[in-house]
């Protein structure tokens, strides 16, 4: 893992940032070669949280692997569920038949997840640079979202709520009222953050013209999500390669051309507002109906049916033990996650388990572009660049 650096003259120093540095958002070791305070070369080292999730997936049925996706990007576990489940549905060929209500519930959950993830990003990013107050405000709003998640599926961090074929259960009573309350309450709160940071002189000094990456480099380095949109790439998978019910919803994709930390900050702030808009539309449009597809060969049947019907129970045993029969073939599905594009590549040989499952994790690719961003900058800028890339190591190291 180590890249060996040699010091060329007296002015040069080699500094280790991490792996236990609180501003590295997990376990990133960042080796920096400095000339005075300027960065000459740097090498991010990852892998401290490697758990072999891709290897584990080869030994699991498609349903069994679903909870593992929660453990990738644990700040937006719903979005991970969605990306994985949509990939499997694409493989099974049932992605067009998912009931509309289930689709809307998924979008609601995913957009809430996006807001929650961006709130944690804003909180920690500001905290790293020295603005403590924002942290407390952001976690106040995140609490609302976690409470809603707890209502829907009983968990606050790892949900396993979005399942192959729909969602685990329909929304509980009172959820929609709470959601209505939230979408009303959130935009004024977002304004509060803007008043705290957007025109704050210290904030501007720490973020403007820091961590610059051009449009061409952003594409060439494969950076995804809000980070590319901060460099002027007008690309959002929800709009450009639409999935689920996003085509029916009306939202804008914020794009800024500056390519620095401040632009990425503005992109994410605007995205939260757009997510709120999507939620408002979902409240209006969500139809009644089933929350799970009626395809007994692929999904668990309802409990009542299993208890009353002998054959259904036998089939259930086979599905649980051997896994669902997926057609042979390979698919890739990428979803727009808060961190960027989370994709799943599944190679199936027609058995109950994936032959190979590759996770295209946005954090991993975004970190690989870090040396390009910090080159020539000051060592203190590393912290703001780390904050603006917003990575999570559960996802980066898998």
């Amino acid at each position: 893992m180590n890249k060996t650096y040699e010091v060329d003259n007296e002015r040069e120093v080699i500094v280790n940032v991490g792996p236990q540095h609180p501003a590295t958002h997990g376990v990133l070791r960042y080796v920096v070669k400095l000339d005075g305070e300027r960065i000459v070369d740097s090498d991010p080292q990852v892998g401290f949280l490697h758990r072999g999730i891709e290897k584990l997936a080869e030994y699991m049925t498609y349903q069994q692997f679903n909870p593992y996706t929660d453990r990738l990007d644990y700040l937006a576990a719903m979005n991970n569920n969605l990306a994985y489940v949509m990939a499997v549905e694409k493989l099974l060929g049932i992605d067009k038949d998912i009931p509309e209500r289930a689709q809307y519930i998924r979008v609601i959950m995913a957009e809430l997840g996006r807001i929650a993830s961006h709130l944690v990003w804003l909180a920690t990013h500001a905290l790293d640079i020295g603005a403590m107050t924002v942290f407390l405000y952001c976690f106040r709003e995140r609490e609302y979202i976690l409470d809603m998640y707890e209502m829907a599926c009983g968990n606050r961090l790892t949900y396993n709520y979005i399942r192959i074929g729909g969602v685990a259960r329909d929304l509980p009573k009172g959820f929609m009222d709470k959601l209505k309350e939230f979408v009303k309450l959130f935009p004024p709160r977002l304004k509060e953050y803007h008043t705290l940071l957007t025109k704050n002189r210290i904030w501007l000094k720490r973020t403007k013209d820091v961590g610059y990456i051009s449009r061409e480099d952003a594409i060439n380095y494969g950076i995804a999500g809000p980070c590319t949109r901060g460099s002027g790439v007008d690309w959002d998978l929800r709009r450009d390669m639409p999935y689920s019910v996003y085509p029916e919803l009306n939202f804008e994709v914020p794009v800024y051309d500056e390519g620095d930390v401040y632009a990425r900050y503005l992109v994410r702030m605007d995205e939260m507002l757009q997510s709120n808009r999507i939620l408002e539309q979902c409240i209006e449009k969500i139809p009644d109906g089933p929350a799970m597809i009626d395809a007994p060969q692929y999904v668990w049947e309802p409990k009542e049916r299993l208890m009353m019907n002998n054959y259904a129970l036998m089939k259930h045993f086979v599905k649980v033990v051997k896994g669902i029969k997926a057609p042979a073939g390979e698919v890739y599905f990428g979803a727009e996650n808060p961190k960027g594009e989370l994709g799943f590549y599944i190679y199936s040989t027609g058995e109950g388990k994936p032959y190979r499952l590759k996770i295209r994790s946005p954090s991993f690719i975004n970190i690989s572009a870090m040396p390009k961003m910090v080159e020539g900058g000051l060592i203190a800028d590393i912290i703001s660049v780390i904050g603006s890339l917003d990575f999570v190591f559960g996802e980066c190291d898998r």
Partner: protein
């Protein structure tokens, strides 16, 4: 451009080198001989009608029973034309493949990971070393013949790296 047109375009130029092609779930995948990989990638990247400027991901799939053991998979996307396609190539265990880092920088870490997990070497890669596993690890974990719970030899690695004085045994029992 539809998948058929896209394939015809590739076929007209690289027809002799295409091993197989397939369209599954509206995704075109083309398997090409590895000698022509870089040429095809350059063509896909630079052609004004295609402009596959974004390498979504690359990885490998292991088929231990085949002579050409590994499938290398490249997911490409064209941002200007909103197209996707998949390029695949095949290689033997000990034969290196040309690196595509000169075309897409995002392949840098992906190829390092593929090397780390499968042991496939890449020609002209700027910095090919392990990325997720420790640098002195032996074996390649994502190969099909690597057991899920690790090999008994892995204990030696732990013995080497645990700090002095730490109780080394009993460790968790491994399945045979």
């Amino acid at each position: 451009m539809t998948n058929e047109e896209l394939f015809e375009k590739i076929k007209s130029k690289f027809g002799d080198y295409i091993i197989e092609h397939d369209t599954f779930r509206d995704e075109l995948s083309v398997t090409i001989k590895k000698e022509k990989l870089i040429e095809l990638m350059k063509f896909l990247h630079d052609d004004p009608e295609l402009q596959f400027d974004y390498l979504v991901m690359m990885t490998a799939v292991d088929f231990p029973e085949r002579e050409e053991r590994f499938d290398l998979v490249y997911e490409l996307r064209s941002i200007p034309h909103k197209m996707i396609m998949r390029v695949k190539t095949r290689t033997k265990e000990d034969e290196p493949v040309d690196s595509v880092v000169s075309i897409w920088n995002s392949a840098n870490w992906d190829e390092r990971e593929t090397y780390d997990m499968f042991g496939i070497k890449f020609n002209n890669h700027p910095d090919l070393r392990r990325i997720l596993m420790p640098e002195d690890w032996e074996g390649y974990p994502l190969r099909k013949d690597y057991p899920l719970k690790g090999k008994p030899e892995d204990d030696l690695w732990l013995d080497k790296h645990l700090p002095e004085g730490q109780i080394k045994k009993p460790r968790h029992t491994r399945m045979p």
